[in-house]
């Protein structure tokens, strides 16, 4: 895409000495320090380019309390290149003959779930796989367009495992774990081999070898792709491997089953409670270990690029049962989506960022200007990105482009319905390159735009607006991908582990498949080697309790019989989240949002109207349960965003910016993972900090001026 690296500015090295002199053992003697940090400090002045001014956090206690720090106890130390090998060697193995005695539940059949189910089935474990869709092939990984990164260095352009690791840590704005990220980069090359062997039809050169392109502002061409449908093709590869295991009898598939509760018995995750979406029946399933591969929670915003059914319920129920939720406020917002056309809008559609290579982004200089785009003369247009960021222009990173678009719309200069859009204009590109060349490059995107909006982007500028796209936060996991509940593993977007505060383009597919094909199958054996665990069934008190919780909740949702639809609550929650916990967050806004969410949650449980019964296909009931969980998650996201009084990655705090309006991190205070412990609905969550130590990458602040 470009020949620069937007995450690099060697001239501005950030002083991170506070971190560098941390003791290497992450478990050693930090409780006192952790307690001291309860009096969190934070620069409050507007436009503060300052270092952290010591100021007391006035009422932190009103929102959360501070618990013991936590540590990733599974990650080996030593040279980063050998840590994964070391862990694999140190992990216990399960004899092939014993594997068939061990059972695994995997929830979710996207890249991270289907790949894990297929691989564990091939290894000989008894696997039960669950998805809410009517077929595992429809999980939302299927919608990923761009590509998948891998450090193959086929281009001989200086790529390497270390460079992919380095780019990912830096892209994550130094809020991810070095060990995890290095492993991700390390196994990336195996993913491509695996997928090619399965028959994934990647783009190829005339010589028959794989084609790659550059993506998301990195300087090497390491992104493999299958036209604009890479996610689909990778998912179908994993799905076919999964179906092969279903036929072989190692995997039992439960499509149209929604996980509604986790069963934690005698300190271990041992099963799940699901609802058969077709019959309404509540079922329990037990196993020696449970894996959640249930994706992200972007739908808390109501409008996002997620699928209609994408939800947080499985992860949230696990959180309520003791799994810590890490960095929930880290959300990625994509700048080039098709804007909302009316209040009936149900979802947002992403268009490839590559459009910004040739399109020029602008709005009218005056908010009063109601003329058609083509009738507005050049000197009355504001090409605001080119104006504010002359070096990078329309190619500034995602979060900056997104925030700038929102800012001009907030000023009343937005275009299109509701004033929520900016122009992405190809007139100059067509003049310069000719319509044919533009068509060859972007034809399919222009067609898609025309199909959705009914407008011809060759004639009139496209309108775009940012949309929620990916959530970097998720359930906390250690190096083995195990959560704080023994026997509960979490993979893919559902965990928090690899992307820090911001994910690089084409890295979501890489992480999903890395976790499912190569990481989890190795680490889960270490846990299963102690099994099989004592058999449990429906009569175990933990199972009885979980089933009761589910049936009570279903009954409660159906019996409120209020006056508002589920969607009306979801929409309202989305508006609160978008306004106050979206692209730009502020102390005042977040406090306000928390109050509003609490009120809305109460209104929901008193006034929601869920028609029908629990005994058959009831799509309103499915949505109601999901929205109920979003109403709890939303509050935690705001609390997390409130407590993180710095700007990093996808999290921009209005109070923490440079004079130029750039994001300002505070590594001395916030270089940690915020892992939240649930204590009760509406109760203060407990914050556990996992310190992030950078041994191999130097922390730097970015700049795009």
């Amino acid at each position: 895409m470009t020949d620069h690296n937007p995450f690099e500015n060697p001239g501005q090295s950030y002083d991170s000495t506070d971190r560098d002199d941390q003791p290497m053992d992450p478990r050693g003697g930090r409780e006192a320090e952790g307690m001291a940090e309860q009096e969190s400090t934070f620069p409050v002045s507007e436009n503060a380019p300052s270092g952290p001014e010591q100021q007391q956090l006035p009422d932190a206690d009103a929102y959360f309390s501070l618990g013991d720090p936590i540590a990733d106890t599974k990650a080996p130390g030593g040279p980063i290149e050998s840590r994964w090998s070391e862990r694999k060697f140190g992990a216990k193995l399960v004899n092939p003959a014993n594997r068939r005695k061990l059972s695994v539940i995997i929830v979710g059949t996207g890249l991270a779930g289907a790949s894990a189910a297929a691989t564990l089935g091939e290894s000989g474990y008894q696997v039960k796989s669950f998805c809410y869709q009517d077929s595992p092939r429809r999980a939302h990984s299927i919608a990923a367009q761009g590509g998948i990164n891998a450090a193959k260095n086929y281009r001989n352009d200086g790529d390497s495992t270390f460079r992919l690791f380095y780019d990912t840590v830096k892209g994550g704005d130094y809020r991810s774990r070095e060990s995890n990220v290095y492993r991700l980069a390390e196994v990336s090359a195996n993913i491509i081999d695996q997928c090619v062997a399965q028959g994934v039809p990647f783009a190829r050169e005339y010589g028959g070898l794989l084609d790659t392109r550059s993506f998301g502002g990195v300087q090497v061409q390491r992104t493999f792709y299958a036209r604009g449908q890479t996610g689909q093709q990778l998912l179908l590869g994993a799905y076919q491997a999964l179906e092969r295991q279903i036929a072989a009898g190692t995997v039992t598939m439960y499509a149209k089953h929604d996980m509604l509760e986790l069963v934690v018995a005698d300190g271990r995750a041992r099963g799940i409670v699901v609802r058969d979406l077709t019959t309404g029946e509540i079922e329990t399933h037990f196993a020696d270990v449970v894996v959640l591969a249930t994706g992200g929670y972007g739908n808390v915003f109501f409008l996002s690029t997620n699928a209609m059914g994408s939800n947080v319920t499985a992860a949230w129920r696990a959180h309520r049962k003791g799994a810590y939720f890490a960095n929930p406020c880290y959300t990625q917002i994509h700048p080039t989506c098709i804007p909302v056309s009316g209040d009936y809008q149900s979802k947002l559609t992403l268009m490839s960022e590559s459009l910004r290579n040739d399109g020029r982004i602008w709005v009218p200089k005056s908010g009063e200007d109601t003329r058609e785009a083509r009738d507005i003369p050049e000197d009355e247009r504001d090409y605001y990105l080119e104006r504010r960021y002359p070096a990078f222009g329309n190619l500034v990173p995602r979060d900056i482009a997104s925030r700038a678009a929102k800012a001009v719309c907030d000023e009343g200069r937005g275009v299109g319905p509701g004033g929520l859009g900016v122009y992405l204009d190809f007139a100059d590109a067509i003049k310069r390159l000719g319509r044919k060349a533009v068509e060859a490059k972007y034809g399919n995107l222009f067609d898609m735009y025309a199909q959705i909006t009914g407008e011809d982007p060759y004639e009139t500028p496209m309108r775009i607006y940012p949309a929620v796209h990916y959530t970097m936060g998720g359930l906390w996991v250690d190096y083995d991908l195990q959560s704080t509940i023994p026997g509960l593993f979490v993979t893919g977007e559902a965990n928090f582990s690899d992307h820090g505060a911001n994910r690089l383009g084409a890295s979501a597919l890489m992480q999903g498949l890395a976790d499912g094909y190569f990481v989890l199958p190795n680490t889960i054996a270490d846990y299963l080697a102690d099994g099989p665990f004592e058999k449990i069934d429906d009569t175990h008190p933990a199972a009885v309790e979980a089933v009761t919780e589910v049936t009570d909740r279903v009954q409660k949702l159906l019996s409120v019989k209020g006056t508002r639809t589920v969607d009306s609550f979801h929409r309202e929650l989305g508006q609160i989240m978008w306004e106050y916990c979206g692209m730009e967050r502020s102390e005042e806004g977040l406090r306000k949002a928390i109050g509003m969410i609490r009120e809305l949650r109460e209104a929901f449980w008193n006034d929601v109207l869920v028609p029908g019964s629990g005994n058959d296909l009831n799509q309103s009931l499915e949505r109601a349960g999901r929205v109920a969980d979003f109403l709890e998650l939303g509050e935690l996201m705001c609390v997390d965003a409130l407590h993180r009084r710095e700007s990093c990655g996808g999290h921009f705090r209005a109070e923490s910016q440079t004079e130029d309006g750039e994001a300002l991190r505070h590594d001395d205070q916030f270089a940690y993972v915020a892992a939240w412990e649930f204590t009760g609905t509406g109760q203060q969550p407990v914050l556990h900090k996992e310190d992030l130590v950078y041994e191999f990458v130097e922390m730097k602040q970015r700049s795009y001026k």
């Binding site: 429809r138 090619v196 070898l209």
Partner: protein
């Protein structure tokens, strides 16, 4: 604009269904068809009635979940999935018939929702390349002709929506099956299982109750992904070859 919907309502798999007429005023032409149904469903809910059951998920034309007959055409008047169909494709005052896919192998679950699990079983019967995780050779060890890779990709874009079956007078899933047979059969990695794959998939296809293919071509005409009709010729060639070799 104002429209009149005539929608298939069926409470469950074993109950009788009927067409129900619903007036829908004030429809914006920018709404997608599914958003129009969302609005109708919100209204039905508030009126104390059961909303229309209809499946959709990604709403960007790739997951293959949505799919209904609209005015007796699979996915309606535009060659795209229903989620990509907008109300501007209809006229003010128009009456629009909405029905589920009709095929023996796709039993109705409720209203417009059908059971398409037969597709999964066809794939499970052979729609894969056996490559257990960890066993893969280096990706560049086997070059693939660009033309083959491109054609394989074209066939691989099938989203398993089921429009081909719904449009076929025989209720055949041959285009769906052929798309997978062609995708995998064009690649060098797919050769060892090429014969057994096609035979096992065809057997499963027939067992599920899908009809035979008589080369009518309705399937490809309604396919939102434009899966080429000649994939079926490829399937027939592969099948004949496998039978002649006695696989």
């Amino acid at each position: 604009m104002n429209i009149t919907l005539r929608v298939w309502r069926q409470a469950g798999p074993d109950t009788e269904g009927h067409m129900e007429t619903i007036e829908v005023p004030d429809v914006s032409e920018h709404m997608s068809f599914l958003e129009m149904i969302d609005v109708v469903n919100d209204r039905l809910t508030l009126e104390g009635k059961e909303p229309i059951a209809i499946d959709s998920d990604c709403r960007e034309g790739i997951c293959g979940t949505c799919g209904v007959m609209i005015n007796r055409q699979a996915h309606g008047p535009v060659r795209a999935t229903v989620c990509q169909l907008h109300m501007r494709s209809f006229d003010d005052g128009e009456t629009i018939d909405v029905e589920p896919w009709r095929a023996d192998a796709f039993p109705v679950v409720k209203d417009l929702v059908v059971d398409r699990s037969a597709f999964d079983r066809i794939i499970a019967a052979g729609g894969y390349i056996s490559a257990p995780t960890g066993s893969a050779p280096e990706a560049h060890s086997t070059p693939v002709k660009k033309a083959d890779a491109d054609h394989a990709f074209d066939a691989a874009t099938c989203i398993a929506c089921g429009a081909c079956v719904a449009a076929c007078p025989n209720g055949s899933a041959m285009l769906f099956t052929a798309a997978k047979v062609t995708h995998l059969g064009l690649l060098p990695q797919g050769q060892p299982e090429r014969g057994s794959r096609v035979l096992n998939m065809i057997n499963q296809h027939d067992e599920e109750g899908f009809g035979g293919c008589t080369n009518i071509g309705e399937c490809t005409a309604v396919c939102p992904k434009g899966i080429p009709f000649d994939t079926i010729s490829q399937l027939n060639r592969d099948m004949l070859g496998a039978l002649l070799r006695g696989e």
